[in-house]
């Protein structure tokens, strides 16, 4: 069989993929056709994908009460999208700052920006595997609206909290290397602090 001849039908390829006819002339002929026919290659790739789906272990349905609860949309507004032009802020080795504890490998930010002043410490994971990030944000211009603080990894918002001008926040969570902390200010601007160890 060659590409100029008729393409074998789907049913023939199903049997071929299943390994039928091992060692026969027909099978060799099909294999040879496959080598030079992109259309039939697509057919067989589709069938191989079906076989692959079978390998997935049996899925288990959650208990009904869990399922029912999850299917109700969580309360509260969804959080902001990824900022398009965040201002990146660098960490420095931790120092002592009033009211904020530090650990040996901690990093901190204590800086003034046009929009806000930051005093934040990031304490790396110990046995619990959890980063602890705590601090305060002071707005340069008084604003009664909340600042949203998000711990983010890729497109996962791992944890979030809200803090008002001068208020204290803390986040503690398990997060992989490469996380970032986003401070969404009421003005719409975002300050971003990236994982100091990444």
């Amino acid at each position: 069989m060659n590409p100029r001849q008729a393409h074998p039908g789907m049913d023939i390829w199903v049997r071929f993929i299943a390994g039928e006819g091992e060692g026969t002339e027909e099978r060799e002929s099909l294999a040879s056709h496959l080598e030079s026919c992109s259309r039939c290659t697509k057919d067989t790739e589709f069938l191989q994908n079906l076989q692959r789906a079978r390998r997935v272990p049996k899925w288990v349905a959650p208990p009904t009460e869990l399922s029912s609860a999850a299917r109700r949309r969580p309360q509260g507004a969804t959080l902001p999208p990824a900022p398009t032009q965040p201002r990146n802020v660098r960490w420095a080795p931790a120092d002592v700052r009033g009211g904020v504890s530090t650990a040996s490998a901690s990093r901190m930010v204590s800086r003034m920006f046009p929009q806000a002043e930051l005093g934040i410490v990031a304490i790396p994971p110990e046995a619990s595997g959890e980063w602890r990030i705590e601090g305060r944000v002071w707005l340069r211009e008084a604003d009664a609206r909340a600042i949203q603080v998000l711990l983010v990894h890729d497109d996962h918002v791992i944890a979030s909290t809200e803090v008002f001008d001068g208020g204290y926040f803390e986040l503690e969570d398990v997060v992989g290397s490469g996380w970032s902390l986003e401070l969404h200010l009421p003005t719409g601007e975002t300050l971003r602090l990236e994982d100091p160890d990444a």
């Binding site: 039908g9 789907m10 049913d11 199903v14 589709f46 069938l47 994908n49 079906l50 076989q51 692959r52 789906a53 079978r54 390998r55 997935v56 272990p57 049996k58 899925w59 288990v60 349905a61 959650p62 208990p63 869990l66 399922s67 609860a69 999850a70 299917r71 109700r72 949309r73 969580p74 509260g76 969804t78 959080l79 902001p80 999208p81 990824a82 619990s128 595997g129 959890e130 983010v152 990894h153 890729d154 497109d155 996962h156 918002v157 791992i158 979030s160 969570d173 398990v174 997060v175 992989g176 290397s177």
Partner: protein
């Protein structure tokens, strides 16, 4: 034919995500009409009622967008589509049922928080597995559970085995396409391709009422229809 009056049972049991209004559930109650595009050997249940959204309308992309806009029904559909995957993954990594339940709830909260920033909707199964594995580690660590299979490595998304993930994504797309295909064709293909153990032609013939000789040609026609749907989804 037995399949006409007694719709085939769900051959995959809990393998399938429950859908609030599946094509199958609606269509199997109806009287089979004649369908010129469908395999003649099989009874063909009614096509979906017009109000039921198509796969395209129910794509992850659309559901995610509508969820981010606050649409309740889209949220329900999205959770229904993936809840088996999330819960099974939490059990698979070694958690007990109680901890798996905690993780299950936290995954959906994380998804809700993250809705506006999920850029790649086609990667949603991966997104959910990554979240489930990290949260499984967290629940085990906080509860001081000694689960040998749960390691710090699970927090890193890169530790997720690509091959396993591809299998899951393939399976999800296939389930979606089979729901779109619906009717007896979908049931036949589920029996042929999604059962953990291969079914003999005799078994399939017994359950579908198809003559053994017509299973092959019917399978071919159903596969071609399925492939068209999969191409549209992709």
């Amino acid at each position: 034919m037995s399949g006409a009056s007694q719709p085939l049972r769900d051959s995959t049991g809990t393998l399938r995500s429950p859908r609030p209004t599946t094509n199958r559930q609606v269509s199997n109650r109806a009287t089979p009409p004649v369908c010129s595009q469908c395999p003649s050997a099989l009874p063909v249940p009614l096509t979906r009622p017009k109000r039921l959204p198509s796969t395209e309308e129910l794509s992850d992309q659309k559901l995610l967008g509508q969820c981010a806009d606050g649409d309740e029904r889209s949220w329900t559909l999205l959770v229904a589509r993936y809840e088996n995957l999330v819960y099974s993954e939490a059990l698979k990594v070694g958690l007990n049922e109680e901890d798996a339940g905690d993780v299950f709830q936290q995954v959906w909260l994380e998804l809700h928080r993250s809705l506006p920033r999920i850029r790649n909707a086609t990667g949603l199964p991966r997104w959910l597995i990554v979240a489930t594995r990290r949260l499984s580690y967290k629940v085990a660590a906080r509860g001081r559970r000694m689960v040998p299979s749960i390691t710090r490595e699970m927090v890193d998304p890169a530790s997720l085995p690509d091959e396993e993930l591809q299998d899951v994504e393939t399976r999800m797309r296939l389930e979606q396409a089979l729901d779109e295909l619906g009717g007896s064709c979908a049931e036949l293909l589920r029996m042929l391709f999604l059962q953990p153990k291969k079914q003999s032609y005799e078994d399939i013939s017994d359950r579908t009422g198809l003559a053994i000789g017509s299973i092959g040609p019917t399978r071919s026609r159903c596969l071609l229809r399925l492939r068209k749907i999969l191409e549209a989804i992709s």
